[in-house]
Each structure stands twice: as structure tokens, then as C-alpha cells.
């Protein structure tokens, strides 16, 4: 029921304007560009997952105008954001600030990557240690690759199935790098 109530309330605020309207714009193109960029990172609270720049909601329009007013009065981008966070909390920021409750978010990908790199290096090195490096284990040159391809083609597709195994490839002595 509570959800239904909220739903109605959103409906009550939903229609009206239509994203950025011509009358909202600032004359100064630099300020206007800043306002646009800033609005794209401010979340509209009524419509939940749109920025105030793209939302049609009344509140979004109010906030767009507010952003422009404050920029015109000489606020820095950060000051505008701080004002909105003071009123609505971090929820309005699409770009979450780096602080205690978001450390895991911002560092998470780095840890994931390091963990993955560590695991991959561990695995690859274990492989490599067992890999016979001294004898015949050199790569084919392109010429040799093509020659293999040729032979395979000659065999015809029908003979390809389980006729030549990959394992044999390194068996051929090739030029040392």
C-alpha cells in the first residue's frame, strides 16, 4: 500500500516539462555547457534513474534552473553539488564521492583486476615451468603456419576430424628465435 501511495505521488509530479527547455538556457555558452555537464551527473529523485538533464519531471526542471542560477552567481561546480547533497543526500550524485562507504566500490575493480592478474600469472608460470623450453618448442614462423594449413587443406575437410592433433605442432624443429 505504501508503495502504491508513492506511485501515485510520482504520477502526480511526472508530466509537465520536457528535459531542457529553451527558456532555461543561459546566454553564456561556457556557463551553459558547465550547467549541462553538471546536470547530467545529478540524479532526478522523482524519476529515479534519470539525470535532471534528461528528465521531464517538474522537480528536475526546478533543479536545472537552480543549478544555472547558482552557476551564474559564481558558484563552482563543487559548490552546486555540495548544496544539493546538503538537501538531498549523496543519492543525487550519479558520480559517488570517494569516502568510507564507497571505498569498496572504487577500489573493488582494482582488487578484482589484481586478483585476476595474480591468478593468471600464477597459472601461466606454472604451465611455463612444465613446458619444455629447450627442445623444439619454438614457434612456427608464418611460412610454416601456412605450410601446415596447406597440408591440412590437402587432406580435405573430411579427413581433418581427429587426424592431426595440436600437440604435434611443436614437434617440428623450427628456427630458434
Amino acid at each position: 500500500m505504501r508503495r502504491l501511495g508513492f506511485f501515485l505521488l510520482f504520477l502526480a509530479l511526472a508530466p509537465a516539462a520536457w528535459a531542457v527547455m529553451p527558456d532555461e538556457r543561459l546566454d553564456d555558452p561556457v556557463l551553459e555547457a558547465r550547467a549541462r555537464a553538471l546536470s547530467a551527473d545529478i540524479r532526478c529523485l522523482v524519476c529515479q534513474n534519470e539525470s535532471i538533464d534528461s528528465s521531464n519531471a517538474d522537480l528536475a526542471r526546478e533543479l536545472r534552473i537552480l543549478v544555472r542560477e547558482r552557476l551564474s552567481q559564481g558558484d563552482s561546480d563543487q559548490e552546486v553539488l555540495d548544496f544539493l547533497v546538503d538537501k538531498y543526500g549523496d543519492f543525487v550524485l550519479f558520480d559517488p564521492p570517494f569516502k568510507a562507504s564507497t571505498y569498496a566500490l572504487w577500489i573493488g575493480p582494482v582488487i578484482l583486476m589484481l586478483f585476476g592478474v595474480g591468478a593468471a600469472i600464477f597459472y601461466i608460470r606454472r604451465q611455463a615451468r612444465a613446458f619444455p623450453a629447450t627442445d623444439g618448442g619454438t614457434a612456427f614462423t608464418q611460412e610454416e603456419d601456412l605450410r601446415v594449413q596447406e597440408i591440412l587443406n590437402d587432406l580435405g575437410p573430411a579427413n581433418l576430424e581427429s587426424s592431426v592433433t595440436e600437440g604435434d605442432r611443436s614437434g617440428k624443429p623450427g628456427p630458434r628465435p
Partner: protein, 683 residues
């Protein structure tokens, strides 16, 4: 009456699925051939019953049977036929039924075409498929029955959400589900392999075509959804990092990793444990996506009507399927034998890097999507994770991936000659730097990152073509020889070349669309015009038009460049009568290099209209690139090895040792069970 038959057919499908889930599994464990053979007819009957049920619901929509609650809530007699039919899956209950239908389709495909599968493997794969079906059939029957009647029946329905009444979105869900559910095949094969305790090249060869098929559909589904957002939402964006987009993107990222790691299993009998885990996780993410969209856990622009009871039921399914399979993995996977060895510079290592980066990208998207939930659970704090986070983290992961995608195909298996490879890449490197400089020079003051992005796209594209030309010796051998080689090259090799070039095209599109988009918003009176990016948009006025279930105002623009007429654009603003909701219908003209995009808004009541014009450079390349990628997948699917299926499991006949006299295969024999397949290539 027909609806009751549909309901009854669904119940029968559940019963058949129970049979299919129990008998063949016992049969495979005990070695009863008759019990195992039950799987095939059961899978086919399951498909039959689910199809009947789906047909019954579709019938109710087509004839606008408003005694069905589901039809009342999502249809209207004045709706065009296409949207009556797409309305079947435009809601929670119906889309669940579509989900089940596709699951049954895949199951029957294995039953019909999997004749060369070992009997136990086939029985187990179908048995596991049946258990997934049981879960979702029960979910549908107990919590989301689409055949519920309503009394008294209303005279007309409440219509489908107008945003969904669109050709792009009519086919988006089926494509997406074919992708999601398609990954259930890889999942079932992975579970069956864990039960059997055996993963080998033959197994990988069975799994790959199913994964590839699902991947093609998912790519198409995501591209279609993105295309829809682009032209329907009316502000020219095509990707918003919305939770609903993210949950479809995550299985795509892991599915792409799975495609590549399965090659290593197939060719080199290596990376087996990881590939099994990827198969489980890819399908798990599809399930989690279904759960998130339907439970309303996250706030998103698009979510189904939510109901805690349903959420709990899907969560239970999720825990059983994902939790159960991961516990099985923890229990059985350590016993899987490691396979072929390789040196740090090799095709294998390249594919490991590919997997590492794709998995990290997927993990990052997962973290960003669910972080608000975690934060709220732990501290009660509400926060948002939006596009800035994803742009900041996703790009740095994808850039090295794409850089390496260009190099990977040059590496030979086991041990590659890096110096030789790099020598062959000088052309690509040179052209990439050229492309970056050219971009920087042409678009003065553009972001440096965009120039680098274009360079990267050129690098991948040229390198991919270089590799292909090298393989058919184009320009180094007589044309006739190249032609012979071209014909002799396996389809999967062509597929890889095509898919990788598609990726390069998409990348160029992403860079262009993000960096150089231009926009103009004006209040125009008829006769006035807007200049944008060298094009002039003359507004000729607007007039009301009437559609079948909406009223609209249509604007007329004449677009010209340097006085020369280019095209006419007529965008609409529609108001759907039943739901009273308005939608924008953008008018788009594509030049191949850019889209000219016009939207019309409300009239100001004084003879003027709010008009919004976008110049969208390279956006057409996004769709073109996606199509090329799908084409690559399809071409690869027609590869003989995949089409005919894998050979019977057996020790390979050791026939040839390559061109030279050398026989010294020291310690690198393929592991037991490897069914060979001598192509050097893989897509």
C-alpha cells in the same frame, strides 16, 4: 475454454518435465539405457505442451479475450495486431511463458540434434535442462499464472505501456531471452560434465555452438534494446548504464569470455575448470538479471510490476540453481585434470588475458549495479552509482582488451614468436597512429581520449584484416592461390575476422557518438530554422494526426546542407488515449557517417513548438558493428566442425606430425580424450 486448455497444457508440461528431470538422471547414474532414452521424447513433449500453452495465450491476445486478467491489463482492442502479439511477452506472466518456451526449444534441439552425444551426457544435459524448466514452470503456475480469469469481464483492456508499442521493442525481449536462456545449454553441459567428472575437447566442441548461438541472440537483443532507447526515448542517448541494461550486459561479457575459453579447452584441453565456472556464472548472471528485473530490487526506468512473493520464489530458484551448481563445482571441479601446457607468450596466454579482462569488466559492472543495494544493506545509506562510475572504470578495462584483441589472433598455440608477430603489425600500428592524428587534426579541440579511441579502433580493424590477409597470403601469392586458401580457411576463422572487425566498428561508433554529439533546443515558429553541424533544419509547422490508439502532433522539417536539400524529417509526439501517456517518436535520417535526429515537443500555445535537434556522429556504426559481430557469430556457427558436431569421443588417430620430419613431441602430447581438430584457428 482455450485459455483453460493452455493452463492445462502448462500443467502437463510440468509433469513431463518432472519425468524428464528424474528418469534420465537415474538412468545415467545406474546405466539403464531405456531410462536415459526417455529424455528425448520427454523433451519433445515438453516443447509441445509449452507451445500449446503459449499459443493459447497468444490466441487470447489476438482475439482480445478480456475475460483473461492478463489480457485486460496489457492489451486493448484498438491496438495494432503486431502489438497485440508482442503484448503477450510485454508483461511479467507472458514473458515468463516465453522464457519457458525458449527453454523447451533449446532442450528439444539437443534432443533432436544431439545424436552424436554420448548417451549418459545427453541424458544428463536434458535432465538438468528439465530441472531448470521445472523451477520456472512451477514459478509460472504458482505465482504468475497468465491464464487467470477475471469476472465480470471489462469491456476493454488497459492497453500496453505505450513505450512498448514499438517494433524495436516488440522483438527485443524474444532476442534477449534466446540469449539468456541459450546460456542454459552451456550451464547444463557444465553441470553434466561435473557429474561425469570429465571435460575434454569433445565436450568443448559440443558446448561452443550453443554458446555461440546464445551469444549471437544476446548481442542482437542488447543492440535492439539500445537502438530502441535511442530513437524512442527522444534524447538521442543509446546506453545509460541503467540496471536493466547492465543485467543484460553482464551475461554478454561473461558469455564472450566463455566463447573464447571454450576454444582453449577444445584445441588445447586446457583451462577446463575455469571454463566450467564461466559456463555456470554466465547462466547465473542471466538468472540474476531475470530476478532483478522482476523483483523490483533496484530502481530502474523499466521494471515489471513487482510482488514480494514472486521475488521470494525466484530467489529460492536462484539459490537452488546457482548455489547448488557452485557447491557442485567446489566439490567436483578440483578433480578435473589439467591439460596441455604452454609458454607465457602463446595463444593460450592471450586468451587468458581476454578472459581476465572480460571477467574483470563484468565484475565491475556487477559491483556498480549492486553496490547501492549492498551499501543500503550495510549502512542504510542511499547512494547512486551512475554513468560516471561506469565510464571511469569500464573504459580502462576495455582499452587493453581491445588492444590485445588485435594481437591475439597472430599468436600461435603453445608458444608464439612475439617479435615476429609485432613485425607483422607495423602496418596496423602505423595506421592506428595515423587515424588518431587525423582525428585530432580534423576535429580541433576534441577530447584527446576520442582521438586515442579512434586510433584503437583503427588498430583493431587493420590488424584483424592483416591477420586474415596473411592467412590467405593475399598479395604474397598469386590471386588464384589466395582464392584457394580463402576457400580452404575454416568458417570459424572467417567468423573471428568478421566479429573482431565488428567490434572495431562498434568501438568507433561509441567513441564518435560520445565525443562529438551536438544538440540544439529551440522554440521554433513555422518558417524558422536551426543550424547544427552544418545542416539547416527548416521547421515548416506541425499538424495533428490520428493513429489507431493514439493522437499525435507531427512536425515537418526540411533539412538542407549548403542550400542543397537532404531530406524531410517528421517527428511525432504521441498521446496514447487509454493510458494518457505521451511518447516521442524521433525522426532520424542517417548519412552513414552520422544521424540527423529531430524531436518535437509541446506547443507553447503561441504558434511555437519546442524543437530538439541532435547531430549524432557515427551512431549508425553502432548498429552496423553489432550486425557485423552477429554475422561473424553466424558464419562461425556454419563451420563444419560445429555443424556436424563433434566426433565421437575417442583417442585421436595419430596420423601426421606436420610437415617436417621431426617427431619430438616432448611432454606435450594432448591429454587423454582430446579429439583433435587440426585447425590452427578459432574464432
Amino acid at each position: 475454454m482455450i485459455a483453460e486448455l493452455g493452463h492445462f497444457a502448462l500443467i502437463l508440461a510440468l509433469i513431463v518435465a518432472l519425468v524428464q528431470g528424474i528418469l534420465p538422471m537415474i538412468g545415467a547414474a545406474r546405466g539403464y539405457p531405456g531410462w536415459m532414452a526417455m529424455a528425448k521424447p520427454a523433451a519433445l513433449f515438453q516443447l509441445l505442451f509449452v507451445t500449446l500453452s503459449f499459443a493459447a495465450l497468444t490466441h487470447a491476445y489476438v482475439v482480445s479475450d478480456f475475460t483473461l486478467l492478463n489480457v485486460v491489463q496489457n492489451s486493448h482492442s484498438a491496438k495494432p495486431m503486431l502489438y497485440k502479439i508482442s503484448g503477450v511477452w510485454g508483461n511479467h506472466e507472458g514473458s515468463m511463458l516465453l522464457w519457458i518456451l525458449i527453454l523447451a526449444l533449446f532442450g528439444s534441439a539437443v534432443a533432436l540434434f544431439g545424436n552424436n552425444l554420448p548417451a549418459t551426457l545427453k541424458a544428463r544435459v536434458l535432465g538438468i535442462q528439465a530441472w531448470i524448466a521445472i523451477g520456472f514452470l512451477a514459478f509460472s503456475l504458482f505465482t504468475s499464472n497468465p491464464f487467470e480469469r477475471i469476472f465480470p469481464a471489462p469491456i476493454n483492456g488497459q492497453d500496453l505501456n505505450p513505450l512498448l508499442q514499438d517494433p524495436g521493442l516488440a522483438f527485443h525481449p524474444p532476442m534477449l531471452y534466446l540469449g539468456y536462456v541459450g546460456f542454459s545449454m552451456a550451464f547444463s553441459f557444465a553441470i553434466a560434465a561435473l557429474i561425469e567428472g570429465r571435460v575434454d575437447a569433445a565436450w568443448a566442441r559440443w558446448v561452443r555452438p550453443w554458446t555461440l548461438l546464445a551469444w549471437c541472440f544476446l548481442t542482437g537483443g542488447i543492440a535492439l534494446g539500445s537502438w530502441w532507447a535511442y530513437y524512442e526515448l527522444g534524447w538521442g542517448g543509446w546506453w545509460f548504464w541503467d540496471p536493466v541494461e547492465n543485467v543484460s550486459f553482464m551475461p554478454w561479457l561473461l558469455g564472450t569470455a566463455l566463447l573464447h575459453s571454450a576454444i582453449v579447452v577444445e584445441k588445447r584441453n586446457s583451462l577446463k575448470v575455469w571454463t566450467i565456472l564461466l559456463a555456470i556464472l554466465t547462466f547465473s548472471l542471466s538468472l540474476i538479471g531475470t530476478f532483478i528485473v522482476r523483483s523490483g530490487l533496484l530502481t530502474s526506468v523499466h521494471a515489471f510490476a513487482t510482488d514480494p512473493e514472486r521475488g521470494l520464489f525466484i530467489l529460492l530458484l536462484l539459490c537452488l540453481t546457482i548455489g547448488g551448481s557452485l557447491i557442485l563445482f567446489a566439490w567436483r571441479a578440483p578433480a578435473l585434470k589439467a591439460g596441455g601446457l604452454f609458454s607465457p607468450i602463446s595463444r593460450e596466454s592471450g586468451l587468458i588475458m581476454n578472459n581476465l579482462l572480460l571477467a574483470t569488466a563484468c565484475g565491475t559492472v556487477f559491483l556498480g549495479t549492486l553496490y547501492p543495494l549492498f551499501a543500503e544493506a550495510i549502512s542504510g545509506e542511499k547512494l547512486s552509482v551512475g554513468p560516471p562510475f561506469f565510464n571511469a572504470t569500464f573504459g580502462p578495462i576495455m582499452a587493453p582488451l581491445i588492444f590485445l584483441t588485435a594481437i591475439g589472433p597472430f599468436l600461435s598455440w603453445k608458444r608464439a614468436d612475439l617479435k615476429g608477430v609485432l613485425q607483422r603489425l607495423w602496418l596496423a600500428g602505423g595506421l592506428a597512429i595515423g587515424a588518431a592524428l587525423l582525428t585530432h587534426y580534423l576535429i580541433v579541440g576534441g577530447p584527446v581520449l576520442a582521438a586515442l579511441g579512434m586510433g584503437l579502433a583503427a588498430w583493431l580493424f587493420v590488424a584483424t584484416l592483416t591477420e586474415w590477409c596473411g592467412r590467405i597470403r593475399l598479395g604474397r601469392a598469386p590471386l588464384s592461390e589466395s582464392w584457394q586458401r580463402l576457400k580452404g580457411l575454416p568458417r570459424s576463422a572467417h567468423g573471428m575476422t568478421i566479429a573482431h572487425s565488428g567490434l572495431a566498428i562498434v568501438l568507433a561508433g561509441v567513441v564518435g557518438a560520445s565525443a562529438w554529439k551536438q544538440e540544439a533546443v529551440e522554440n521554433l515558429k513555422p518558417g524558422e530554422s536551426i543550424e547544427l553541424a552544418g545542416y539547416s533544419y527548416l521547421f515548416e509547422g506541425a499538424r495533428p494526426v490520428t493513429g489507431p490508439n493514439y493522437d499525435a502532433e507531427r512536425g515537418f522539417f526540411k533539412v538542407s546542407k549548403d542550400g542543397e536539400a537532404i531530406t524531410d524529417l517528421s517527428p511525432e509526439r504521441r498521446i496514447y488515449r487509454v493510458q494518457g501517456m505521451d511518447t516521442t517518436e524521433a525522426a532520424i535520417h542517417t548519412t552513414g557517417l552520422a544521424d540527423l535526429y529531430a524531436v518535437i515537443g509541446q506547443s507553447d500555445g503561441q504558434g511555437g513548438w519546442t524543437v530538439r535537434i541532435f547531430y549524432e556522429p557515427l551512431v549508425p556504426w553502432l548498429w552496423l558493428g553489432s550486425l557485423v559481430m552477429i554475422l561473424g557469430g553466424v558464419v562461425s556457427l556454419t563451420d563444419r566442425r560445429l555443424r556436424v558436431g563433434a566426433p565421437v569421443r575417442r583417442r585421436p588417430a595419430r596420423l601426421s606430425h606436420g610437415p617436417g620430419p621431426g617427431k619430438g613431441t616432448k611432454g606435450t602430447l594432448p591429454a587423454k580424450g582430446s579429439a583433435g581438430g587440426g585447425h590452427r584457428v578459432g574464432a
